[in-house]
Symmetry: C2
Subunit: 229 residues, 2 copies
DNA sequence: TGACTATGACTGACTAGTCAGTCATATATT
DNA sequence: AATATATGACTGACTAGTCAGTCATAGTCA
């Protein structure tokens, strides 16, 4: 009597069901492998949102499962445990971003144009989006997940810094940038953008920030006033 | 069950006025009020360290109690619950910092000197210290503690931005700063310092940052190369 | 093609453990 | 003694991780 092995369970309709809380109607998904991949993607997506909203410790796997429209056990078919799930998640989300960024845009025009295009892209893709919150999440959890911080430094930060430095050196060589020491601290070039990301997720309600315009002013500082053409 | 356990408003001890904070290793502590204040201070100190190291959700009150050399129940003599403890904590730690900062230094010399002195102070007092980690903690937990984010914005950010703006406007009026639009975005002035704080707590092991030097370069950007006087 | 079997993705009730908050008791102060 | 403080064992709500069992699909054979 104590045990009531799963029996009643769902009467029927496990097949076309999916009418779970997930909401979005899953595509037919012909074969098993495809379905599995879809579920995995759903878990990743759901987990990302929960982790961003609550942080690592406060996130419940039950909530992730519910949001993904999946049973809790399913999560463990795809990830070893909560911790390694979090670590893997960051990789999964970041890798494609890095891939896109390393696809450098056409190196035409002035250095300022290059940087402006790059920054504009960054603002559009990161600020106020899921990706921006991910940055904040990494700042938040980094110290407790050295492997995540390491990964992020290796894959994103060090590369970004190197790329910015190259750009700055080009600008100096071309005479567009006067402050030669800037090449030693590419962080300065990027700082306002990072601050904008953090600002938006913390203080947007108090004082929204026009990141695009702020960036323009910052670039004016580095390149000198833009001549209106 | 809808549980409504927490009821008792802050019991007492809120008025435990500031006494000699010096209180270190269990001095006899003559009167009760003093002892209570000491215990409270020990709890605040311990809680701060635990919260910084683990974040809000992952911090155990048992650990705070142990670190403070106090029984768990004692914590509840001083704070209503974990959540309000965290909120109060941020206030307790930040208020004296704000108090110190608003004690403006002698407004002598050039604007650049003013800012440099201010920044130097900031670097020494914040970067790599407990205070720096507190900034990271606020960034991390802010979204989950709107009251903390609000408080921080009101007490620190908005004041800091206003002060910086005043300084920038002075610099523009005196002809030290050429970029007039900078006054619209004091964040640009502060951004590298904030980035330095975050950088140190996340990536110091990979690539330590000479914040002092970076700041010098940044100020060169704003004021023009420094003339060696 | 249709029927029968094998596979493994998926489920969710369950277990073992954790931790915030309580309170009866003990200790210190007046 | 009376009162104010402090203690830490205890409780109950909550959750990460497990696993016996289910069932849609893939594979096999007649």
């Amino acid at each position: 009597m104590t045990k009531k092995p799963t029996q009643a369970a769902l009467p029927t309709a496990t097949r076309a069901s999916a009418k779970g809380p997930a909401g979005s109607v899953e595509a037919p998904a012909s074969n098993r492998a495809t379905r599995a991949a879809e579920r995995r993607a759903a878990i990743v997506e759901a987990a990302m949102e929960e982790f961003i909203a609550r942080g690592f410790a406060a996130t419940r796997l039950d909530d992730i499962a519910k949001r993904a429209g999946v049973a809790k056990g399913t999560i463990y078919l795809h990830f070893k445990d909560k911790e390694s799930m979090f670590e893997e998640l960051v990789r999964i989300v970041i890798v494609p971003v890095v891939a896109r960024l390393t696809t450098l845009p056409p190196p035409a025009g002035s250095v300022r144009d290059l940087i402006e295009a790059f920054a504009g892209n960054f603002l559009k893709e990161v600020i106020g989006t899921k990706r921006g919150d991910l940055v904040r999440l990494i700042v938040a959890e980094g110290p407790r997940f050295p492997s995540v911080a390491d990964f992020y430094y290796r894959e994103v930060v060090s590369r970004g810094i190197a790329a910015m430095r190259a750009l700055i050196e080009l600008g100096i060589a071309r005479g567009e940038i006067r402050e030669k020491d800037l090449a030693r601290y590419p962080q300065i070039l990027v700082a306002p953008a990072m601050i904008a990301v953090i600002w938006q997720s913390l203080f947007a309600r108090h004082a929204p920030l026009d990141a695009q315009d702020m960036l323009r002013v910052h670039l004016d500082l580095i390149f000198g006033e833009r001549r209106t053409t």
